[in-house]
Amino acid sequence: MRNLVVVFCVVAGMTGLGGCGGKASSNKLTLAGSTAFTPVAQKLADAFKAKHAGVTIDIQSVGSGVGIKNVNDGIADVGMADLPEIPEEAKALKAFSVSRDGIAVVVHPSNGVTSLSMEQVAKIFSGEITNWKDVGGADAEITVICRATGSGSRVTFDTLVKIKGKVTRSAQEQSSNGACRGEVAKNPKAISYVTFVQVDASVKALKLGGVDPKIETVKDGKYGIAAIDYLLTKGEPTGLAKEFIDFVMGAEGQKIILDCGLAPVK
């Protein structure tokens, strides 16, 4: 359903109906971007609003790519993106890395495999390995499930696992982290990836090259697949945008980020 809303917003925005675009004003802040970072941004915004009476913060969960575009176009004040690095189209923007978000490789809890090397993960998602028995599991065909093209998690995963443009054509695609987890939870032969926050008892997160998927291992850089969460502004942030970013980078903001299951940068 969210997709439909987004479609509507995009259509409305482009036809100049301007239904969803927020104009920058002194006590209103519009954030747009990463669906993965949205829940965290919501918590940060709530805490920020508690300290600044009369401020409204509008958060639009539209995906990293559209978030960057909206900041460029001046529709949003602050963009949110979870990506492995700052992409070409955002080079002109001012970027603040506020946290790191690990991406866990997940399988069904009944799967005998508990650890994969980075190389094995790459081979599975690029279609070179198609049977669980080749990585120490049961003799069963692997169902590869990935995120839709353009999702921040997909870009991060493909870039860091080094399979950009090589993902197997027979991969199934899901439009959100939750949907990926849901499919893996139902299918004993499936493999997918979701952000750490999304991991729960319905799936099993694998060790990657022997490293546990934990906030600590993301923070010290041992865990290999993690996105950087960026807040982006057009030019130096001013006014409310600057105050908000300062708050996120400060001790209180970073504590909220840690409580949400992300690795703070400080």
């Binding site: 997709n3 439909l4 987004v6 995009v10 482009m14 559209v66 093209t149 299918n187």
Partner: protein, 284 residues
């Protein structure tokens, strides 16, 4: 008199507003989507089998999605048409009044269930069932067809019933007078008289299936490959647009609008055909 013409003007304006909305949408979809089709060539866009916006250079061939759309829709018709037409015939020709008064509201309720609910049930019940008892990964053309087959029932049944009911009573009375049984009358007289409306009902049901998005995304697995069997996953045109528009920029976004153009043309052809068939029946 003055009041009359004022009201007529207002009503005309209201009527035109929906046409205007259609015009704006059409213009917009075509303006955004057509350039890339012609830049790339309609042949390679429509029949190219590679869809990979992330690759360099990006590949935009939508044949797998067209095939997916028609596979899922075809399956839905296989299931929905016999059940739908059967129900309509029963309800309008044979059902005792009491049964009809229960079944008709139930069907209207079925039409009111949001598609995401159908998708959710399909995801939790149907696709695991298919995986465990029939085979494959569960997310499949079969799952999509089964869900859509149910979703198009209200469309098919209500239009078919209207058509059957509009067959003049005198036709049936004439048939009975000649000594025909109830079924003979239905088969030899009522159905042939209603034929064009029934075809239109099926075509409109098909249009409904082609356009459905959410329920299909949730059960078909969305693999961008031409499905090899009913148990293979598939991606429809609508699913492709809804899943990727979130993060699409530049050419990728244009290509998604081009998918919209293709969908638009498919639906337009189906509706025009349905109208034409229905009119043909009225003239005969």
């Amino acid at each position: 008199m003055k009041q009359d013409s004022a009201i007529r003007l207002i009503l005309l304006g209201l009527a035109m507003s929906s046409v205007a909305a259609l015009a704006v949408i059409t213009l917009f979809i075509f303006r955004e989507g057509l350039p890339i089709i012609f830049r790339q060539g309609p042949g390679s866009f429509l029949f190219g089998s590679d869809w990979d916006p992330g690759a360099e250079p990006a590949a935009f061939g939508i044949f797998a999605m067209i095939a997916g759309t028609f596979a899922v829709t075809g399956g839905a018709l296989l299931l929905g048409v016999p059940v739908g037409l059967g129900s309509a015939i029963f309800l309008s020709e044979f059902a005792p009044r009491k049964v009809a008064t229960i079944l008709k509201p139930a069907l209207e309720l079925l039409a009111g269930i949001p598609s995401v609910v159908f998708g959710y049930i399909g995801m939790l019940v149907l696709s695991p069932f298919i995986r465990d008892h029939i085979g494959g990964s569960g997310a499949s053309v079969l799952a999509g067809s089964a869900i859509l087959g149910i979703m198009i029932l209200p469309t098919i049944i209500s239009i078919s019933m209207d058509t059957l009911r509009s067959v003049p009573r005198s036709y049936r009375e004439g048939s009975f007078a000649l000594g025909a049984t109830g079924w003979q009358t239905t088969w030899k007289v009522t159905l042939p008289a209603a034929r064009s409306g029934l075809v239109a009902a099926v075509i409109l049901g098909m249009g409904r299936a082609v356009g459905e998005t959410m329920a299909v995304i949730m059960v078909t697995g969305n693999t961008a490959l031409v499905p090899k069997s009913p148990l293979s996953p598939a991606r429809t045109l609508t699913a492709n647009i809804a899943m990727q528009l979130n993060a699409a920029v530049g050419e990728h976004r244009e290509a998604l609008f081009a998918c919209g153009v293709v969908l638009f043309v498919i639906i337009m052809v189906l509706n025009t055909f349905a109208n034409w068939v229905a009119k043909l029946g009225k003239r005969a």
